[in-house]
């Protein structure tokens, strides 16, 4: 301690007093120190006297005493103020001397040596394992968290896809059907009201989400996320059955029409809701058609009243005939009964009339929507524009009724049914005649273009092999609703009723007339002269069908003559007149002096026409004529 140069230690006393102000020349003014009583008061203020805790009382008093002692201590003049400083310095010096001594001993390296602290690189095994486990656990935790997030997002995606499927399906539905949103529900309209129908059915269907699908299992092929709920009275499928039958004797089984045909196969690719909605719309349309028909059947007065029984309307277009229109609606719950007796009968359902009914009701719809109904000026009520003139122009009842639609749906369909029936019966008559009678031949050329109320057919009666020569019988038949109008080639117009027999008789009479006409034409070709011709002879037995016709032709030389009488019932009778010279039974008389009178034609002889050669009448006639014309 006494060796070595002296070290200057500079110190500075802590400024115990606060600076109150610093004057402009740098002189500091200190806050005057607190007097003893002030100090005591400050210390007393610091203590929480209000808290009555008995154990802290001593502490409080202790602090008070210490505080008081500290204040007392401060003003003891015997104590040197630098005492603590001197003590601190002395301890520091001691420490430094010890250090100096240690370092000087160490310099010799005899009694003390320095060893550096060993840096141990290898950590113990257990510690490594634990640290690795921990790090793996953290990594695993991260991966698990990530996997969880992925599965959650996948599930969400699937849910979204299902949602999107529903939305895309809904979009497709909306592109074909009218939809609107009412509250939470999506409702649609499958009625024909926006197309002009006035049927009071609401025709509302509801679109519901199909949630009965298990995502874990495989999605079935015909799965559709959308389902439609149609009104209960439109379920299943329906059609209108129109048929013409012979009048049934008993009325007992009316209204029991239950025949049902198989539903048409669904188009591939069309969704189930589409099929359901289409079927429901069809049911609604059939109901509307039937309602309109039954309303008219009850209201319209006709000669033979129409019967409306349950789902069937029966009317009589012709006597002995019955037209039945029925609404066949099957809800599709029960299978088609196998034991139904109707199965054995052939399906006499007239598809044409069913189609026409649909067309007619659509026409009716379109009429309510035509621009003819729109009001001009805009404030006038809806109605036909020509009817609006009824008032200003003072139309009378006849004019007004001519403006309005007089025929209803039922009348129209009955007329069409009548025409169809008449046409089919005419065809049957002509065909049966054609198959029954070979000579002459009857041909029918039906025209392609018909209307619902009128068809026409051209009937030709010809002889085989002689079509170019004998074509005088050509008939144009115009088949209407109740009558057939026949226009003959020679200009006669004959009206036939709907009776089948009339047409048949008429055709038979025409055929017999044809034979005689054929002889006339043949005579022209063969060079024979027609002596007399009559379409309707008044001689001979009376025919029950039509009249007999007769013709007499003479050979070119005049020596022979042929007389033909042909009737529809009596058949044909052919007589040949020979010259007098060839007649054996003629008596010689002395009136005729000269020989030239023997060239005149004499008596008649009948020809056994049945034993004549030739396949038809005209051929036989030609042969006969040829036989009677001697070769030059």
């Amino acid at each position: 301690m006494s060796g070595g140069p002296a070290v200057r230690v500079s110190m500075e006393s802590q400024c115990e007093r606060q600076v109150q102000e610093v004057s402009l020349d740098g002189l500091e003014t200190y806050v005057p120190p607190l007097s003893m009583s002030q100090n005591l008061a400050k210390l007393a203020h610091r203590e929480p006297w209000s808290q009555p805790e008995p154990e802290e009382d001593e502490g409080v008093w202790g602090v008070f005493y210490c505080g008081a002692a500290a204040c007392a201590l401060k003003f003891q003049p015997s104590l040197w103020p630098w005492d603590s400083v001197r003590n601190n310095l002395r301890s520091a010096l001691t420490e430094m001397c010890v250090l100096h001594d240690v370092l000087s001993v160490l310099k010799d390296k005899k009694y003390m040596a320095l060893d550096p602290v060993s840096q141990d690189p290898s950590t113990p095994q257990v510690f490594q394992l634990i640290s690795k486990k921990k790090s793996l656990a953290t990594a695993a935790q991260l991966l698990l968290k990530g996997a969880e997030k992925l599965t959650k997002s996948l599930a969400e995606n699937q849910e979204q896809r299902r949602q999107r499927d529903f939305n895309s399906e809904l979009l497709r539905l909306r592109s074909q059907w009218k939809l609107r949103k009412v509250g939470h529900k999506i409702l649609g309209d499958l009625s024909y009201r926006s197309a002009g129908s006035l049927f009071p059915h609401h025709g509302t269907f509801e679109v519901i989400k199909n949630t009965d699908i298990d995502l874990d299992k495989k999605v079935p092929d015909n799965y559709c996320p959308l389902n439609v709920q149609i009104p209960s009275d439109l379920e299943g499928s329906a059609y209108i059955k129109v048929s013409i039958q012979k009048q049934s004797a008993d009325i007992g089984d009316l209204g029991t029409v239950s025949l049902f045909r198989r539903q048409p196969k669904a188009k591939p690719g069309s969704q189930m809701w589409h099929l359901k909605l289409e079927a429901a719309q069809n049911v609604l349309l059939c109901k509307e058609i039937f309602a309109q028909l039954s309303r008219e059947a009850v209201q319209i007065k006709s000669q033979i009243p129409h019967i409306v029984v349950k789902n069937q309307i029966i009317s009589q277009p012709f006597p002995g005939l019955q037209l039945s229109i029925s609404l066949c609606h099957s809800t599709g719950e029960k299978k088609i009964q196998r034991a139904s007796p109707d199965k054995s009968k052939p399906d006499d359902h007239l598809y044409v009339l069913e189609h026409n009914l649909h067309q007619l009701i659509r026409e009716f719809h379109k009429q309510t929507l035509s621009s003819v109904v729109m009001p001009h000026p805009a404030s006038s009520p809806f109605g036909h524009k020509r009817l609006r003139l009824a008032g200003p122009m003072a139309y009378d009842k006849a004019e007004i009724s001519s403006l309005q639609q007089s025929e209803g749906l039922l009348e129209k369909i009955i007329k069409q049914a009548k025409h169809i029936f008449l046409r089919s019966r005419t065809a049957r008559t002509i065909d049966s005649l054609a198959s029954r009678i070979e000579d002459p031949q009857i041909q029918a050329h039906w025209s392609n273009i018909n209307s619902v109320y009128e068809s026409s057919v051209k009937v030709l009666i010809t002889s085989q092999g002689y079509e170019q020569i004998c074509k005088s019988i050509q008939l144009q038949l115009n088949i209407g609703v109740e009558q057939i109008r026949v226009v003959h080639r020679d200009g006669r117009v004959i009206t036939l009723s709907h009776q089948e027999q009339e047409l048949q008789d008429f055709l038979l009479s025409q055929m017999s007339q044809h034979q005689v006409h054929a002889v006339q034409q043949l005579a022209k070709v063969m060079g024979w002269h027609v002596l007399s011709f009559s379409n309707h002879v008044g001689l001979g037995p009376i025919e029950s069908i039509g009249n007999a016709s007769a013709i007499t032709v003479a050979s070119p030389s005049g020596e022979h003559a042929i007389s033909v009488r042909n009737g529809p019932e009596s058949g044909c009778k052919v007589l040949v007149q020979f010259p007098r010279s060839q007649a054996k039974e003629l008596l010689k008389s002395d009136v005729l002096q000269e020989g030239r009178w023997t060239h005149l034609r004499g008596p008649y002889r009948e020809v056994h026409w049945g034993r004549m050669e030739g396949r038809n009448f005209v051929y036989k006639m030609e042969l006969l004529m040829a036989a009677l014309t001697p070769c030059p």
Partner: protein, 208 residues
């Protein structure tokens, strides 16, 4: 010669007892296209029908009470179509829950001598205007979207100017008296037009 018997009993049947159910609203010019599209989709499937009408309102001032008003309307696009004479009664003060304005309505078609006839009867023309727009139809409901134009020179329908920058939209049904189900249909139809146009019943007395 005796005069033919004239009944003094009031006529009750036929078209006398028709009631008009009415809801009105308006749209600005720039929103007209979207409204027409909406109506085209909601209403019956037809080609949109445009109209241009000239309406004259006639008043008969009696000694007492309110003057009697008749509306005569003719189509400018169809000059040969008959005139339409209309009487609209007071709105029925039924229950407040009824959604549409209901008033008695008498519609008569008349020949082209109608203005002269009304003048001879003592009616005087109060005002006239031209309405142009489109008519839509849904079943029995009629929707008329019209722009009202003021006629500057009386009788001259070529010189017109629009009264406002908006179109008047009216939804109306003409039905015999006693059928109250119409107002429900009208209200549900008005709901479907809701964000584009608000159709409500507007009492004409409150506007005066």
């Amino acid at each position: 010669m005796e005069a033919p018997p004239v009944t003094v009993m009031p006529v009750t049947g036929g078209t006398i007892n028709m009631m008009e159910y009415l809801l009105q609203g308006s749209v600005l010019d720039q929103s007209l296209e979207s409204l027409l599209h909406r109506l085209r989709g909601l209403c019956d499937n037809m080609e949109p029908e445009s109209f241009a009408d000239h309406e004259l309102v006639y008043l008969l001032k009696g000694q007492q009470g309110n003057p009697f008003m008749l509306r005569a309307r003719r189509s400018l696009l169809h000059p040969t179509a008959p005139w339409h004479l209309r009487y609209l009664g007071q709105p029925e003060v039924g229950d407040k829950s009824r959604h549409a304005l209901v008033r008695n309505c008498v519609d008569v078609a008349a020949s082209h001598s109608l203005p002269d006839f009304l003048n001879e009867m003592g009616f005087r023309m109060d005002h006239e205007f031209v309405a142009k727009g489109q008519v839509f139809r849904k079943g029995a409901m009629k929707v008329v979207v019209s722009k009202l134009l003021r006629v500057l020179a009386s009788g001259n329908t070529e010189n017109t100017e629009p009264m406002s920058l908006s179109y008047l939209v009216e939804l109306s049904i003409l039905a015999p008296a006693g059928q109250d189900t119409m107002s429900e249909d009208m209200r549900s139809f008005a709901e479907q037009l809701k964000p584009l146009v608000h159709l409500e019943k507007i009492d004409p007395k409150r506007l005066m």
